[in-house]
């Protein structure tokens, strides 16, 4: 329900219009006591943190928030947007971690694990902990050296919970569920390149 000159606030549909969520309980559901969920220790949303040895036995977490420079990959190669960044894909790194790894701000780095690698520019970001790299998602593959995108280091295992109660989250509903792959189960290492 959009109105001129007024923002659409989150949850208006539920709180103002009183339309329940299309879940089994009609509410936002965090707790699920289905047998399979209990067996896989997922009665509340639980991170697996594992996508196989090749992808997950590396020292650094890698996460990929939304960018402010586009909507997903839209406008990511726009020169006016790019001139307000570093001009090429960049990966954020704590200056302390960078010092340990011999990486300088603005230098070329290789981010890798057992399943793949990509190259990017290092950008110092003191607000990151030392065990984590950050890179905004949505960079287009064609913007990367050798067209190796950041997805090349991302793996995910099939989530058996998605099969519970007829494929989909407990029950399949069109547009209400999709098999999004998780970036957070892979871990990486970084080196000067």
């Amino acid at each position: 329900m959009l109105r001129p000159d007024q923002p659409l606030n989150p949850f208006e549909k539920q709180v103002v219009e009183k339309v329940p969520y299309p879940t089994l309980s009609g509410r936002i559901t965090f707790y699920c006591d289905h047998d399979r969920f209990l067996r896989l220790a997922s009665r509340v949303p639980t991170a697996r943190l594992h996508a196989g040895r090749e992808a997950s036995n590396y020292p650094l977490n890698f996460y990929s928030p939304h960018t402010r420079w586009g909507i997903h990959s839209n406008w990511r190669s726009n020169k006016y947007m790019m001139r307000l960044q570093r001009g090429e894909p960049n990966v954020y790194i704590s200056p302390k971690l960078a010092a340990d790894k011999g990486i300088e701000d603005g230098s070329r780095v290789r981010v890798f694990n057992g399943i793949g690698e990509f190259f990017a520019q290092a950008k110092f970001y003191p607000s990151l902990p030392q065990d984590t790299l950050m890179m905004e998602h949505g960079w287009e593959p064609y913007q990367f050296e050798q067209q190796k995108p950041l997805n090349d280091i991302t793996a995910t295992l099939l989530q058996p919970l998605e099969l519970v109660g007829n494929w989909g989250h407990l029950k399949f509903t069109l547009w209400k569920w999709n098999a999004n792959q998780l970036a957070h189960e892979s871990s990486v290492d970084i080196a000067p390149a």
Binding site: S77, K79, Y80, L84, Q85, Y125, S127, Y142, Q143
Partner: protein
Amino acid sequence: MSTPVKRQLSMVMDLNKCIGCHTCTSACKLMWTNRNGREYMYWNNVETQPGEGYPRGYAEMGGGFDSNGNLKIGKEPSAEDYGIPWDYNYEESLMTGTDPWMRPNVKPTWGPNWDEDEGEGEYPNSYYFYLPRICNHCDNPGCLAACSRNAIYKRQEDGIVLVDQERCRGYRYCVTGCPYKKVYFNEKISKSEKCIFCYPRIEKGLPMACAKQCVGRIRWVGYRDDVDGPIHLLVDRYKVALPLHPEWGTKPNVFYVPPTSPPRLTADGAVESESRIPIEYLEGLFGSGVREAFATIAAERQKKSNGEDSELMDTLIGYRHSEMFKLS
């Protein structure tokens, strides 16, 4: 020494609401500076502070006035200090396929937002905030005082500072005289150019493009003498909006609500009393009014928490965007 005008159009920006999205920068860029020798200019820029700013290191370049009111001639930024705009091999990488991937035509080494999000301190006590900057349309403009051609003038009806393009001979004294480095030299036409407060829009009753497009609703526009307007309320009545670097002596007409910040954390995650952004640092930017402004905001915010009315908080929230602009 101020230049008296009949009325002064002014702007307030609330740094607590700025999310650093650069929509203002983009609006300004596409409206005024994407062509004809202005490509490198950002009449509106958003910089991360603490940081180098735009152009790089401008705060150390001088200009403005000393305590006796004498103009100080500063340094002219280099092209690298602004950042030389780079281009892309769009055609070769995306159309003809003759280049294997898309990249800048030169390896960028500095740009107008190069040190974005760096700030100071270490995780988890790192801190930074965004500072959008335009021409301050000062009461006592350093650029105007520096111009030997009398090409820079302040409009009587609204105090907008403009460069007369007919009189300008491109001597660039204005560039060095402005301590905010908000006058730019256009090499293509050998004249200086700057933020014009979107006067063609103002004359049609529209707010500046940067203010109109601001998704964070951080900007209020109005006349300083309008006692019912937002500028008077924020700057003069509640005194929560302060000029940037008042010690530079130009008497800016753009004001900022200084950024509050969460408390510092100890190594084991306990909350300390000190705020993450040091108050002394903010006083270095916005002058001695910072503590009083923070105290006022805290008191008014508490009123709102108690369910009471607060004219100040209602104004700062900006429920209706159109009410943030009072152009008559």
